[in-house]
Point group: C2
Chain length 262, copies 2
């Protein structure tokens, strides 16, 4: 039987609030077994860009990463956020080690090519060195991954943290039973978006289509679920979406929405 | 016989100039054998502080690191500079891995205590995990070290890069024959400060005292040499000070000033 590993992604709703972050990191540190933390960026990069008078262009909710913005996200994601998380986890007796996609050549990436939109210095991932992560966790290290990658010419690239978490989960699936957990601001996928108790505990291919047809799953949640099913297809054991302050019960499958084969 | 390892420190004179940095990194990548790069900060942090209207206080040439400045140096050193160096080295087929002192608990540090001056969030190093560095280099990784550490409570600390290089060299000296190289803007310790060809190739305890008495070594160079002798005392094989664009010949002992037992 393969060992279990958690790949857990946190975003701005945790990172932007010092108290929330400290609370989350305490729960994360207490989680038993192999684990990897992937963090996004939060509002700090946007704030920093405003303070430095660097205008931010968004297309379809995606940041266009010009050279000045790349510098900011590299500083904020791989520097400030990553090192603060690592230091805090280590104060909880972990051996957290902060890595971007370029460190140890963990990820190979390339600048996004798009027929009509120039996203700037945005990276799409070609591959993840799952073996490097396996060796690290087996030696008791806890990788903390910042969403910055690089191309083969050494140009840094801003990269979506959700995608990084998914690619890492997939790369580890041959060696581990991977539990991929997305922590966000809702308690899970809700039947009624205004009712936090209306969580759908399990989504499989069997009920997914009817949830879409009933208009219970729509808009922003659809791509997340499509990505979750894609991860399952590539060997990830289960994908859970839940609230960042319920990490322990999410890990025990007592809260959140789990997307699984059956 | 112990394997040789280079611990090489670069500062602002290399980092602040993109062309210089690219040239240096090419030489560094070409250097054969085990190697670790330690980088300082350069002017970018000062520029960033100015752009963000954060006043910088210096006492005796040392930056006082208040909370806002700590955030900047963490972003610039551990984020922007470190990840750019790592990505560029990896484009030269290295497996560079960027680490601050807190990553993998590489260094234990504490906030500087001083009877009269409050340096702010400045770290002094208690210990370096030489075994972690040994394992990394023996697995073909090239550690690239940013001058940020943390205390046991998870507070980040701004830390002198020269000192980090020295402490790393010392921590590796039981396992390796360590060559510690400081790359700076001069070709070495000069007999005549205005004559770049007047390099003193070798300084030992035998000629050091007379060089001081003749006023050939003075001011800023004295603490560097005292640190070099301290490193030798703690097992480092040799310390060389030379110009950043002469790395290959420095490594071959054909340029720069080497401080050695004899």
């Amino acid at each position: 039987m393969k060992n279990k590993i958690y790949v857990i992604k946190i975003g701005g709703n945790v990172i932007d609030d010092e108290v929330n972050l400290a609370s989350f990191l305490q729960s994360f540190a207490a989680l038993e077994g192999y684990k990897i933390l992937v963090h996004g960026g939060g509002k700090l990069a946007t704030q920093m860009a405003a303070q430095l008078n660097i205008p931010q262009q968004m297309i379809d909710g995606r940041r266009i990463t010009d050279a000045a913005t790349l510098k900011i996200v590299t500083m904020v994601y791989a520097g400030y956020i990553n090192k603060n998380i690592v230091a805090k986890l280590n104060s909880h007796q972990l051996y957290a080690i902060g890595l971007s996609g370029t460190d140890g050549q963990l990820m190979k990436a390339h600048k996004r090519q798009h027929p009509t939109i120039d996203y700037g210095f945005v990276g799409d991932i070609d591959s993840v060195d799952g073996d490097l992560l396996r060796k690290l966790v087996e030696k008791n290290f806890c990788p903390v991954i910042a969403p910055i990658t690089a191309d083969s010419e050494g140009n840094l690239l801003n990269t979506n943290a959700d995608t990084i978490a998914q690619e890492i989960a997939q790369a580890l699936s041959s060696a581990f039973d991977v539990k991929l957990i997305y922590c966000f601001e809702k308690a899970g996928v809700l039947r009624d978006v205004d009712d936090e108790t209306s969580i759908i505990p399990l989504i499989t291919k069997n009920n997914f289509q009817s949830l879409v047809e009933e208009n219970i799953i729509f808009a922003g949640m659809l791509p997340k679920l499509h990505n979750a099913f894609a991860a399952l297809e590539k060997g990830v054991g289960a994908v859970t979406i839940g609230k960042w302050d319920q990490l322990k019960t999410i890990a025990n499958k007592q809260s959140g929405t789990t997307i699984a084969h059956e």
